[in-house]
Amino acid sequence: MSETPTWDYAPAPESSAIVNLKEEYGHFIGGESVPSADGATMETINPANEQVLTRFAKGGQEDVDRAVASARKAYDEVWSKISAADRGKYLYRIARLLQERSREFAILESMDGGKPIRESRDIDIPLAAHHFFYHAGWADKLPYAFPNQTVNPLGVAGQIIPWNFPLLMAAWKLAPALACGNTVVLKPAETTPLTALLLAELIQDAGLPPGVVNVVTGAGETGAALSSHAGVDKIAFTGSTEVGKLIQRTAKTRNLTLELGGKAANIVFEDAPLDQAVEGIINGIYFNQGHVCCAGSRLLVQESVADLLVEKLDHRIKSLRVGDPLDKNTDVGAINSREQLDRICELVESGKAEGSELHQSTEDLPEKGWFFAPSYFTGVAPSHRIAREEIFGPVLSIMTFRTPDEAVEKANNTMYGLSAGIWTDKGSRIFKLLGEMNAGVVWANTFNKFDPSSPFGGYKESGYGREGGKQGLAAYLEVK
């Protein structure tokens, strides 16, 4: 194949003028912004330039207690008493306000988390609004989702979300919880608290009664104080499998849903439309810098087309633009944190040490900020760490197979079971394989697609419970 042509693009940065950051952010408890009881704060950094964006409250036990008490009061006195239709109308308001302010949210999301503006603008924020709109409609129709059974809200839900899709994950958690009649204490990730705090302001603008949604910011200890709190009736967590297991051990409530790690296989058969598959593979692993629990991080290619596919892939990744997340031409933004960059580097080193061959798209990365070039490994053995462990970065491990049975065997040979991809032109093969994949989401001839009507969640050690669809409502209801 010919050498990848390069085009010089003029920088096309999105202006951040629309974002008005405060010098410091408090928790959002009982409808007010409040500092931590002990006054502790921490800073959040723009990963693309390593500059401090602002400071925010670091929550402790006392702050979590206060937030849970506020959510309880709002549940008892207000939220459990208003009509289901009104709950829905509040959610519709949130959806509309989010759509109105989507530009501001998108820019803030990219500044705080490092993801390309193209993705926060076109995917994260619209999808977050869509989740509120979708669930708004469920609020007064819940019995239709569970025919011949009775449904009741659980009460106060504690929700802990990760840094890879900060606003979207907040929407995935808040929308169904509120639609089902629960009140919430939300704990955003320590590196990306800002869009959740802006959402709290928006929720206030929507006129939600104080205490229905509370946000407590902080680090791991803050999340632990919430997940093990005796006053919550439900814990929903999205994050690492390691922390998910800890939460299963320490949660006081038995109502638990966990959306955890993954190591998805993306299987390409020789009859697949290869150019489409290449786009799917790229989207599967380099979308959001690979900070995606359902990322297609293990590529399984049928041996007969492996060389051709890798050649096409190599050609394609060289055209990916890595750099300023606010630049509208950027494909791959900044790695979310120094800590995550170190973890990616450590795993990539292990891949080299164990004998896999590393290929990278570029060595030309911005000097400031945390970046990692889109990368893939060939010559990977299933026993290598890069084939087993979640890298959570833009690093693909390529392996080959000969028969469909071997592909299934390799795909399922993992403790995870979140997602899988199948690329083939043969319909009957798709149906056979999708039945055999031990994974909660199977994308056939596509990858990394999301919709509020499509339940999302894992098999095996990728967790339990679903988000989205009528099936996702069960996580926030007592169904009898």
Binding site: M437, G440, T446, K480
Partner: protein, 289 residues
């Protein structure tokens, strides 16, 4: 005529479709309400459990792969065979389990098999969905069995609780390892004989008699068990199952203990029982490309 000397039955474990003795050689005894010996039964060990998990695992894919129609017929067949042996079970329900209404419990148990048999080919229609994705994709969600489920038979009843738990788990394609109630091991093994004559493929339903307490942590820590159904309501046991089971993120299904009379009620059955042991799989495919 002189009394004929009765031939007593030897009770074993039911693993992989075969009746086998415990490898440990340990036994326990079961007594009637006047403390007369009914029989000695095997006391299953951790090794027996491991063998049982293997049997259940190797049967799972085949069981889930059968048509729903076929699974329904097999569950119905269990009901037929149970009905045919009602006198024996009613007698044992009085003697071993101390049931005050054995007829009602036996009838409820048979009806429970029939009830769940009828669900087999309706589960997908009610729990699954076609998803109206905002884009050019066709999407749907189907329930699939969780895998290998450890059923800790409810202690409140001799038969109906255990039968309900088994049927609601296997109807969707799970295979089960049943830990018999401490109070009724002989009834459990008699039920195994019903299973053995009901066309249930080997390994789909396995029954161990043992002292429950001794096997619980092993159930929780076994990495090839996907879920545990525990209904005795002991909070300390629940916490230890959660602790030990976190290692492979076992799905824990706890509920408050019910009385035998409550188990007999129709309110004790339902789709929500089946839904405890399924996983939802969402599938996407582009349209028109």
């Amino acid at each position: 005529m002189a009394d004929r000397l009765k031939v007593n039955k030897t009770y074993k474990l039911y693993i992989g479709g075969a009746f086998v003795r415990s490898e440990s050689g340990y036994t326990m005894s079961s007594h009637d309400q006047e403390d007369n010996l009914i029989a000695h039964v095997c006391k299953a060990s951790r090794k027996d459990l491991r063998d049982t998990v293997k049997a259940a695992r190797s049967a799972q894919k085949g069981w889930a792969g059968r048509t729903a129609y076929n699974r329904g017929q097999i569950l119905y067949r269990i009901g037929e065979m149970l009905e045919a042996r009602s006198t024996e079970f009613e007698d044992l329900l009085i003697r071993e389990a101390g049931s005050d209404d054995p007829k009602a419990e036996l009838q409820a148990s048979v009806d429970r098999c029939v009830y769940y048999a009828g669900w087999s080919d309706k589960i997908d229609a009610i729990l699954g969905s076609v998803n109206p994705i905002a884009g050019s994709f066709f999407g749907f969600t189907v329930p699939e069995p969780t895998g290998v489920v450890a059923v800790v038979a409810d202690e409140a009843s001799g038969l109906v609780g255990m039968v309900s738990q088994i049927c609601s788990a296997v109807v969707s394609g799970n295979t089960v390892i049943v830990i018999a109630p401490d109070r009724a091991p002989v009834i459990a093994m008699e039920f195994a004989e019903v299973l053995a004559t009901s066309d249930v493929p080997k390994g789909v339903i396995n029954i161990l008699t043992t002292e429950k307490a001794g096997l619980m942590t092993h159930l929780a820590s076994h990495r090839d068990i996907n879920a545990i159904d525990y209904r005795d309501g002991d909070a300390a046991v629940e916490q230890s199952l959660l602790d030990e089971g976190a290692d492979n993120l076992k799905r824990m299904r706890f509920s408050d203990s019910m009385t035998a009379a409550e188990w007999n009620e129709e309110s004790a059955q339902g789709l929500s029982e089946i839904a405890k042991f399924v996983e939802m799989k969402s599938v996407w495919h582009p349209v028109g490309v």
